[in-house]
Assembly symmetry: C2
Homo-oligomer: 252 residues x 2
Amino acid sequence: MADLELAVSTVILALLPGSCPTAVNAASPAGPTGERPADALRLHLPLVRRTREPFAERWALPGGWVTPDERLSSAARRTLEETTGLRPSYLEQLYTFGAPRRSPTGRVVSVVYTALVRAPEAADVEVGENVRWAPADALAETVGDLAFDHAEIVDYALWRLRTKVSYAAIAQHLLGELFTLAELRHVHEAVLGKPLDPANFRRTAVASGSVEATEHVQTGAAHRPARLYRAVLPPGGAAGGYPPWQSRPELG
Amino acid sequence: MADLELAVSTVILALLPGSCPTAVNAASPAGPTGERPADALRLHLPLVRRTREPFAERWALPGGWVTPDERLSSAARRTLEETTGLRPSYLEQLYTFGAPRRSPTGRVVSVVYTALVRAPEAADVEVGENVRWAPADALAETVGDLAFDHAEIVDYALWRLRTKVSYAAIAQHLLGELFTLAELRHVHEAVLGKPLDPANFRRTAVASGSVEATEHVQTGAAHRPARLYRAVLPPGGAAGGYPPWQSRPELG
DNA sequence: CCAAAAGTGTTTCATTTACACCCATGT
DNA sequence: ACATGGGTGTAAATGAAACACTTTTGG
């Protein structure tokens, strides 16, 4: 039980334009599935290039070792900030991966978190030789095979996000404080990968109680101004039926 | 990253008659002669009494240390069998708990699994001075405070089971190979804690495709014999939309 | 005025819920 | 025969999808 190391890794997701200047991409010519507008928002995640064996030069999820006196979630936040400078607005434990041969150098058990960051903060990442954004749905084409089992981890994180976004109010963590319902709908569309009816989305969004209208409106566009909304946190109690301890600040 | 130990614990759930906390009298294995006990079925879980500090004499979840060359799920199965003799029909990772002060003796990170066992196998547990079944919804009243944060873990496992049983076909793992739809409904009722309409439950259960009728019927009861059903595993592919790697045997 | 997107209303369809009713068996 | 739970039918209620339509801005 001692011949074993504990790490944390994080799948951080942000919504960036597909032709984002910071994202080094050459894979945007009208591909086989390229029904997207050129500047459509797509889920991206930051990757770090490994500088040491194993998997030197390969891209990997941000992460690091767990120190003895910090929470697992704190370790995720710390390593995330150390490697990318990001401070996510949403952080949730995803799964713990611990297959014996995940790492060729020895037994490593990784507690993996999923994080969401708002677009403004995502722009603060210092992209460079060893840090870059990559589109979540085309990792292999843009950065090749990820280190370790990280490609599998990303797939699972995306699956979970897709299933969860349909019943939990988490998409708001990918936007700024104020947003239009069209923007929120774009987030859902990018996550789910399919268009949504604007009218029906509006109704379900406001009926869910997860957003509230403000008195502000968005001006400057060549059409009727859209009202700005704000995310409303779920009631502190357990009414929502979510995990009992999710209402408390953090755990684990 | 070395001053830290990795453990697995398991919340094992079985459906047992509520009145006799320790005496296990399960329905006959595959025989259609399963008589229904007068009292309702309730979720129970096996606990082990700690023989050493910390928390000596207190009841705790079965578990143990992870060895360097076994999967996390294998560690869960092994420790479960070592402590209780149980081999669960369903095993799923629940969450990883790693708060710094969980254990007073040092940093322990626990990967917790949820397991379901069928009533016949649950009867094989050797109940004794240091192993006992306790009703899941009344742990404090029957066994007092659990060791460590295990009470919190059980609460979370129950919450997850309740939410998952409504959309995933897992309740069947608490029954034998053949079961009536009334028995399956009793499982759902015990998990959800509320009565369900027999007619509607029947329709949704068969429409979901998670059960298939057999040619056997259950005789011996003072009413019309009930048809016996069998669980049908979800299609091997990813059609169901479940985690990609859940279709493979195991991971992590 | 026109284009474009915000926002509202309504119709249609599918699913869930409630409950009446028949069926088959042991006593 | 009758009590009991198994099993079927059906209509009301709820909710999701589709789409026509009105509103409000910039050009």
